[in-house]
Symmetry: C2
Subunit: 105 residues, 2 copies
């Protein structure tokens, strides 16, 4: 699903990752984090795709909303497990979306 | 592959898309555009993943480099064919990357 976002400017977190072999608990935690993100103040939407590389982009009303989400206790635990177990490599990029364009047939 | 980018700030184009049933010429054009992007001034890297939703994020040194790429004649033709044939729906978001964080095990 393409996220329905608000008028620019808004903010995005691009999370690009390569998984490890370790699968235990990953799918449950990923689902739980997506669900929890939806209930955070300032959350606008999320888009996700994975082949060898996974890309998850979440959209937010403000940088402050992103900071709060990154500091959320349950999210902190997930981040820690991510580093220890689930990811070989990742990048997190925090962006301001200055313009957007939507096409639908 | 996670893109190797420069020190922030730099810029990103998030292209999120849902494909149509029409496949003719798509893979060739997609490969060609990725190759062409690599040779553009200011191009830093690209990340891509697709399930039902496809996400391609390209990274650039400046907004000007993004504008030039969007106006590149071969890219314009690809965009036109994309609208006519290959995509049901898409979003293009142009962002300034203000901070990033990399993890590698």
């Amino acid at each position: 699903m393409i996220a329905k976002t608000i008028r620019t400017p808004y903010y995005a977190v691009i999370f690009s990752s390569i998984r490890s072999e370790e699968d235990s608990g990953y799918a449950e935690m990923a689902d739980e984090m997506i669900e929890l993100a939806h209930s955070q103040p300032g959350f606008l939407g999320v888009e996700s795709a994975r082949n060898e590389l996974g890309i998850t982009v979440s959209y937010w009303e403000s940088i402050d909303a992103i900071k709060k989400w990154q500091e959320h206790p349950a999210h902190k635990i997930a981040q820690q497990r991510g580093k220890e177990d689930w990811y070989k490599k990742y990048a997190v990029r925090i962006c301001k979306v200055d313009s957007d364009y939507f096409f639908e047939k």
